[in-house]
């Protein structure tokens, strides 16, 4: 009964979506206030119906209603409650429903908070957003109904993939989707602007916070996934350039570019056509990622249950959405008038460089991801593109980007002076070069690559600090004056400083970890000791520990340092009751210098156990750096300008509400 209610609510949501996708669009075109007014209540209703469906599915999972196919296939009565709930999106159908929930949530958010948007623009945005919803709701109803029943109800469910029963991964998909789907806002605004034939700073002021929010969520999602891979998979790695990982990374790169170009539109009223294109491409890459993950067109460890039928549907949808919006772009974009001019060396110029490099990096990742497929089609050759390709192509593009990232904020708008900027950055330059050279000279195992990584990381941190110091006139004005400048500095500027600093910290951590990690693999018998990075690990033995729905073999290693007892590490190997799968849980001790990481393998049958230890120096800097980047996104979101939307209101009062003839209106 509950499941049928959910199914019915989904059908109603589709009906509402069709109305919301057409009526306001026609209304905005014919300037019919009544038709325009349909958009807001429809967005609310659509969200409410999808929320009901999602609640119904969650309920079915919580009470273990195995007459629902998705529950029977993916849940188990012995599962802890938290994983029953996260199991809702641990499968194809449920995760698609979560995707739609977030899509309609963003639509509803525009209806709630978009009160200061011109009604025509708001109606068009909501209509475009709803048309995306029509596609996804049709997809779920026709190919992936989460409420499908089973006729012979099983007594017990199949259980969730044990790898997914982990807090890090349980919350990885929602954040990832908030990011992916969040870019649909920028897309809807871009298409609405193309229909209107007008892009102005007020438009950019609206697009920026949505893009920023999506970017922040996506960053959290990607980091959660990497962190999970690091401690759960037991390989000690965190990024593998797998097609599915790339699928989340490409929108992140394009979204980062969009974040920067939207600043130029907002502040200088130029780069409009490019920003619109980026907004379309960013969301297109999100959709492409969905296609890659769910069609099974590329083999990947992450793939959901794949199904070529679904592949056709998503591909058709991709062609409609991406192809349609790009053709609209081709027809309408030339009508967008460009605003302010700028010299190559200027803040705008730096942001254009940022965009060029990020776009190239995105294209590189896209190429590497799709290349095996293309080559197979045209030559019949079968290849896999792995880490070596991406390491050889991606990092050389990122290095100049990171070097230039520090210059950008030091350059004024319109026209800048490179030498002048360098003058003001020379302390940061010498500090970072000094650190890198000192590490190269005094720490064994350095390579030119590690030296470059450290130099760039230190340059980002020191350079961000230098631009902050200049803004608040540190040491050049009285300290209280500097402090009040710091407090009054726009939150967006703080956000930028934090995000760039976080990226530097991340880069330092990653470089040091990859260059100086040590590892040791051996077969050990109880009582034996192995030394790794100055820690003596003594194998005390293995015991069986029952978990709620698994049996664990837990090893005990007592760790001492210089003969002093230091800590115990308890890595586990878990065998799950409901499936024959086993997972490893690494034993990790975080120290200020890095992580000591232990994994227990299989018994050799002769009293010994395969064991594997790592010492990963500075690895926590990566997580700290990523958190600082996220913090930068959050701080920037709290910027006053985003909340007030000042210019939009000023325009309203100046020219009259709603359909003001904006100065940039060139196409109508």
């Amino acid at each position: 009964m509950i499941a049928e209610l959910g199914h019915f609510a989904l059908i109603l949501a589709l009906v509402v979506a069709v109305v919301q996708g057409t009526v306001p669009l026609i209304g905005a075109q014919t300037r019919s206030a009544a038709w325009i007014a349909v958009a807001r209540p429809a967005a609310n209703a659509q969200f409410a119906f999808v929320a009901i469906a999602f609640a119904a599915l969650t309920y079915s999972f919580v009470v273990s209603d195995f007459s629902v196919l998705a529950v029977a296939k993916n849940s188990h009565t012995l599962k802890p409650l938290m994983y029953k709930i996260t199991g809702v999106w641990g499968n194809h159908e449920g995760s698609l429903l979560l995707w739609i929930l977030i899509l309609t949530l963003f639509g509803a958010a525009v209806a709630w908070f978009g009160t200061n948007l011109p009604p025509g623009l708001r109606a068009r945005v909501l209509a475009v957003q709803s048309l995306i919803g029509v596609g996804f709701l049709s997809f779920i109803l026709w190919t992936s109904n989460p409420f499908e029943r089973v006729l012979e109800v099983p007594f017990e469910g199949n259980g969730l993939n044990p790898l997914l029963q982990d807090p890090g991964l349980a919350f990885h998909p929602p954040f990832l989707y908030l990011g992916y789907v969040g870019f649909s806002m920028a897309f809807s605004f871009a298409v609405a602007a193309l229909i209107e034939g007008r892009v102005d700073p007020a438009w950019a002021r609206w697009v920026r916070p949505w893009t920023l929010a999506a970017w922040t969520f996506l960053t959290i999602g990607i980091v959660l996934g990497s962190w999970w891979a690091y401690y759960e998979l037991g390989w000690g790695g965190f990024w593998f350039w797998d097609p599915v990982e790339n699928a989340s990374f490409m929108p992140w790169l394009a979204g980062t570019a969009l974040l920067h170009s939207a600043v130029v539109v907002e502040r200088r009223d130029t780069l409009k056509s490019w920003t619109i294109l980026l907004a379309i491409l960013t969301f297109s890459l999100s959709l492409l990622g969905t296609f890659i993950v769910r069609s099974g067109i590329l083999t990947s460890v992450h793939a959901f249950a794949t199904d070529p039928e679904r592949g056709y549907f998503i591909l058709g949808f991709l062609v409609l959405v991406i192809g349609g919006s790009l053709i609209l772009y081709a027809v309408r974009a030339p009508l967008l008038k460009s605003g302010g001019l700028f010299a190559p060396v200027s803040r705008e110029g730096a942001l254009v460089l940022n965009n060029l490099l990020l776009a190239t990096a995105t294209a590189t990742v896209l190429l590497g991801t799709l290349y095996p497929l293309m080559l197979d089609l045209f030559t019949g050759k079968k290849v896999s593109v792995g880490g070596p390709f991406f390491e050889a192509t991606f990092f050389p593009i990122m290095a100049p980007l990171l070097a230039a990232a520090v210059f950008g904020p030091m350059l004024p708008w319109k026209r800048g002076d490179l030498m002048g900027a360098f003058q003001r950055l020379r302390v940061a330059f010498f500090v970072s070069a000094g650190i890198a050279l000192a590490v190269w000279a005094f720490v064994s195992g350095s390579s030119w690559l590690s030296t470059l990584g450290i130099a760039l990381g230190a340059w980002l941190v020191a350079g961000s600090f230098a631009s902050l110091a200049e803004r608040i006139k540190l040491l050049r004005a009285p300290l209280t004056d500097s402090l009040s400048r710091a407090i009054n500095m726009p939150r967006a500027a703080w956000g930028m400083t934090l995000a760039h600093t976080g990226l530097g910290i991340f880069l330092l951590g990653g470089t040091i970890m990859l260059t100086w990690q040590t590892e040791s693999i051996q077969v050990m018998r109880p009582g034996e000791t192995v030394t790794v990075a100055g820690y003596e690990l003594t194998f005390q033995g293995v015991g069986n520990i029952p978990g709620p729905n698994y049996m664990a073999e837990r090893a005990l290693f007592s760790v001492s340092r210089n003969g002093e007892p230091f800590t115990n590490l308890l890595p586990e190997k878990r065998a799950y009751v409901s499936s024959s799968m086993a997972t490893t849980e690494a034993g990790i001790k975080a120290t200020w210098a890095g992580d000591l990481y232990a994994v227990i393998g299989d018994a050799d049958g002769k009293g010994g156990w395969a064991t594997r230890f790592f010492f990963k120096p500075f690895v926590h800097w990566m997580w700290i750096g990523a958190s600082v980047m996220v913090l930068g996104g959050v701080v920037s979101l709290t910027d006053r300008r985003h909340r007030v939307g000042a210019p939009a209101q000023r325009r309203k009062t100046a020219i009259g509400p709603g359909q003001a003839p904006a100065p940039q209106m060139a196409g109508e």
Binding site: W235, G296, I297, L318, G323, D376, S384, S580
Partner: protein, 184 residues
């Protein structure tokens, strides 16, 4: 109208056509089994540095065997590797490794790190032998009968279910067949 503005839709059209062909032709997960029932291609590969002997098609005659295509840069290979270590330790069937387009240094480090379950390994530096085997992506696994004919091809990383329900039963069936034929 600016022709440049039509670049993005045109490029997307090319990608979309490729993806559509990909769905139609490449048929995910049910990739060509043209080699099933065919003899293994002829090859003679040198060993991976640090392992005792190389690997040639002559090794596959006389015994039911498994050929596993792997590379150190391939993530799914790591996922399936513990199962191969287990099979190698079990000793029921020889597992040969085809180290696909890999650097020698990385491959031998990988084997030292994760264990070497292989009876012997051939270093397929330029991927020529992999292409002859019709390798689509790494990892891939083949079951070869005693006469050197390919009887099963498994694409992607194996999991315990596939190993115990698909691969090992095929091995046992072929081994039983050999015993029966030997008795005649």
């Amino acid at each position: 109208m600016r022709p440049m503005a039509y670049m993005p839709p045109v490029m997307f059209a090319i990608v979309a056509v490729a993806l559509a062909l990909g769905l139609l032709i490449v048929k995910p997960k049910e990739i060509p089994s043209a080699l099933i029932g065919q003899p293994v291609p002829e090859f003679d590969l040198p060993s991976v540095v640090g392992t005792p002997h190389g690997f040639s098609n002559a090794d596959l005659i006389g015994n039911v065997s498994i050929v596993n295509v792997f590379a150190s840069w391939c993530l799914p290979c790591r996922a399936e590797h513990p199962l191969w270590v287990e099979v190698g330790e079990g000793g029921l069937v020889p597992v040969y490794g085809l180290n696909y387009k890999d650097s020698q240094e990385n491959a031998s480090k990988w084997l030292a790190d994760f264990g070497d379950p292989y009876t012997s390994i051939g270093a397929d530096l330029n991927g020529r032998v992999g292409v002859d085997f019709g390798v689509y992506g790494v990892p891939e696994t083949f079951v070869i009968d005693g006469q050197g004919f390919i009887q099963l091809k498994f694409i992607g990383p194996i999991d315990r279910f596939a190993l115990e329900n698909e691969i090992l039963p095929m091995v046992q069936e072929l081994q039983a067949l050999m015993v029966a034929e030997g008795a005649e």
